[in-house]
Amino acid sequence: MKMSKISKTIIYILLGIMALYFLSPFVYMLFTAFKTEAEAVAYPPKLFPAKWLWQNFADAWNAQPFGTFLWNSLLVTVGTTLGQVISCSLVAYGFARFNFKGKNVLFMVLLSTMMIPWDVTMIPQYMEFKMFGWINTLKPLIIPAWFGSAYYIFLMRQFLMGIPKDFEEAARIDGANAFQIYWKIFMPILKPSLILVGVLNMISVWNDYLGPLIFLQDRSKYTLALGLAAFKGVHETQIIPMLCITIIMIIPPIIIFIIAQKYIVEGTSGSIK
């Protein structure tokens, strides 16, 4: 389809305006993080700092045990991602490549669990984890991920459904059992889907606030998101350190997203079909 110069110009103007809305808060935050506290609340505000204070980031980082928070966030992110990728691929493989009694009913049940708001299950879950002695540990944040999650299973199952049936026939003739077929043949094919689920999970766990808020109590157990929110509660009047930590916290998911963008766009396309 050919476009006239005028309509192209209009499209670029609209794209530019929208990009300004989404980008300018970040850019402005980035510049402000290098300012002094007085500059940050000055009126009228200036875009650039008078002097670029790199020290702001180090000061903010050392104001609280953010190293510990970062470590906890990494543990939870890596632990849940491993769990989701392994458990969801197993379950998705079971639903996509076998016929068994009750399959359709069970799959409907799986889909309908996506409708249940977390508000309903969070209180009994809290009591359950308390009974297990898991409160104030990272376990309630990590272990449930090892039992799969409906949305990710659904995504992987959609992907697996698209692979022709004769794929495992050849392997079965060679004498491989079901788990060998899953592991050796399907895991490599499943790679785009594994990356998609891994990335979606990493981003959502890294960003999660309510889970850590409910299950963790000691500061030494806090994740970065929880640490930052607590920091906000204490240092409400100091803007600079808050912005510095916010910047540090949002960089990893942005980088991961930009690298894995292709998989997210394709995965979204697969999931609504």
Partner: protein, 311 residues
Amino acid sequence: MKQKRISRKAIPYLFILPWIIGFLVFTIGPLIFSLVMSFFDWPLAADPKFVGFGNYIEMFTSDKQFSKSLIISLKYAAIFVPLNMIIALFLAMLITQPVRGVKIFRTIFYIPTVISGVAVSILWGWILNGDYGVLNYLLSLLGIEGPKWLVDPAWAILAVIIASAFGVGSMMLIFYTDIKNIPIDVYEAATIDGANPARQFFSITLPIITPTILFNLITSIISSFQQVTLVMLLTGGGPLKSTYFYGLYTYNNAFKHHKLGYASANAWVMFLIILVLTALVFKSSSAWVFYESEAGGVAKKGKKSKRGGKR
């Protein structure tokens, strides 16, 4: 031999076993237990006491905050859901235009969705600050005196809506992938017939994507009722409880006031409201959603024929 056949039958169940265990322990178990708890007076530190429908009666008769919070959440959903969908669709239409460099804009529009609600609330709390916030400064350049967004009860809910609209990218991406799949020759035929772009949008694009609109409508109704993080950190439910969303009300009843039974009843009412709203939307959908299998496959035959089968 017989034993081998049995074990082969068990194999599929072994694959789905992780989910079955998780479903029992982390989903259906807690779901049933939560329903049971909603009939109890259940303090965190003392023994539970059975109260029958007491919690539900209290909610609908003496607890004024219940209906207030419910109305706030309904109001938020009523403004936010359509607004978010219109912006998402507008952005999706923009990034499907055949101009160079459009993928960079797709990335830019999506980036805010990968950022923590904690970070979003800090960012917007700072931008919307009534004293030194940059938004009011920009408004003042236009000669408008900006409101005290987070301190004025009349404006706080709008502040929450502005901050949540920042995450419109995920819905945009869903619209985008759907619009991308519409074959180009449909538009070419329409252009030859003399249909202008606006006409093409309303009589080709919009009808084709109605199933996706339905999907987005339902998921965003559900998520707007569950909105907690942003209000908790941006406004704390204030000022004067003007943004005391239903999700926050439930959370505080459970973990701040330690009324676990009462909060369970709150959560179940929310669940039922979501189910009723979803059912209503589904019911209405037969009037406005077009599946190509019914429409005689006007547009997307072949290319997306999978769709009908998987639904």
